[in-house]
Amino acid sequence: MAANPMTQFEVYRIGPEIKLGAFDISFTNASLFMVISSLAILIIFNLGSKKNSMLPDKIQLLSELSYTFVSKMINDTAGSKAKPYFAFIFSLFMFVLFCNMFGMIPYTFTVTSHIIVTFILASFIFIGVTIIGFIKHGFGYLKLFVPSGVPIVLLPLIIIIEIISYLSRPISLSVRLFANMMAGHTMMKVFGGFVVSLGIVGGWLPLSFSVALTGLEILVAFLQAYVFAILTCIYLNDALNLHH
């Protein structure tokens, strides 16, 4: 009988329990897929950057296209000032993309379907962007909360709304990715369960849904990685080019 669709998100220990002081930092299936994703990225891009032929082969083309894709994305949203942060956004995009994509393989674990992972990433981005903003503009960065051309009567309200929206950035960023991945995988599991339970007679409809959902989820996996990266760029743009 179909299993609980949430069991796929369960984290379990692989190997012995490792303790760092009072904290349990055991190697888990989540850690395994983080390592696999990172290694896959490193292997692909290392192969892609090894030799520079005038006519690139497929893997070189792939890595160079990804490079130009991300660099164009950063340049379009955050301008040329964001160039020092290119490597970070590139790794972020690739990490999220590969974690999402590895999650699409059956019986794997989706790292990004865990709120704690996405929240840590998002808070790191949030804190980093805030620090960059204060370094670049000092206390002038607080002008971000004061939009120009607003009547003075409305100003207190607007400032409060702006501050709330600014503070909710890490939450919205992390929940967006986490919820998308979790919902997609749960739905696929549920439809897969329908296929099993309806059997050879009634299972064709949920099976076709399942096929369609797989395509959709691959799209979502890419799209969410892209959205995550581009929102990071937009936040970075706020910190680098203050224009409110």
């Binding site: 179909a2 949430m6 998100f9 349990d24 888990t28 490193l42 490079y67 690739m94 979790m182």
Partner: protein, 196 residues
């Protein structure tokens, strides 16, 4: 048999849906904080390592590769541009040469034509002169003949008239009297008979 499977499957389906709803009440494994620290730790470790390797080793290489290729392509484009320019100038030169040779050919043709025309003209002139001379000669001969004609005619007239008189009268007539008559006639009517 098939019916049985169908109903069974529908029954199991309801059973399954129930199971789904019960599963939701169990809760999400994501909210179980048991492995949060482990996940944070491993995320920091893997992502940090990924970032370091990408930013220090791989991305600069890709960037350099791209720059190098761009520069090479730019160079090639420039070289191609130069060659195009040189070929264009050569084409212009070639056109000039063709034009020049055409002009030369025209000149040569003109000269030849002039020469031939001159030749024809001079030959024509000499021919005309010769013809004129011949004509003059002939005219002179005709003149001479014309001048001697009346005397001969007079002679013939005298001879015939003496013969006629002899036949008619049967006696010889003095030649000199007849010639006197003929001379007289020819002097009176000569202009009428000979034109000029």
């Amino acid at each position: 048999m098939i019916k049985k499977i169908f109903f069974q499957s529908i029954f199991f389906n309801f059973f399954f849906i129930k199971e789904v709803f019960t599963a939701e009440t169990v809760g999400m494994p994501q909210l179980n904080p048991e492995f949060w620290i482990s996940q944070i730790f491993w995320l920091t470790l893997t992502f940090g390592a990924l970032y370091l390797v990408l930013s220090k080793i791989i991305l600069p290489k890709i960037s350099a590769n791209l720059e190098l290729r761009k520069a090479q392509i730019q160079e090639n484009i420039e070289a191609a541009e130069k060659q195009r320019e040189s070929s264009e100038s050569k084409l212009k030169e070639y056109d000039k040469i063709v034009l020049k040779s055409k002009l030369e050919a025209k000149n040569i043709f003109k000269d030849a034509r002039k020469k031939i025309l001159n030749d024809i003209n001079s030959k024509k002139e000499t021919l005309d002169k010769q013809i004129n001379e011949e004509i003059k000669k002939a005219e002179k001969e005709i003149d001479v003949l014309k001048k001697s004609a009346p005397e001969k005619i007079n002679k013939i007239a005298i001879e015939t008239s003496t013969e006629i008189v002899k036949k008619l009268i049967g006696a010889d007539v003095n030649n000199s009297s007849i010639s006197a008559i003929v001379d007289d006639l020819s002097k009176r009517n000569g202009d009428k008979y000979y034109g000029n």
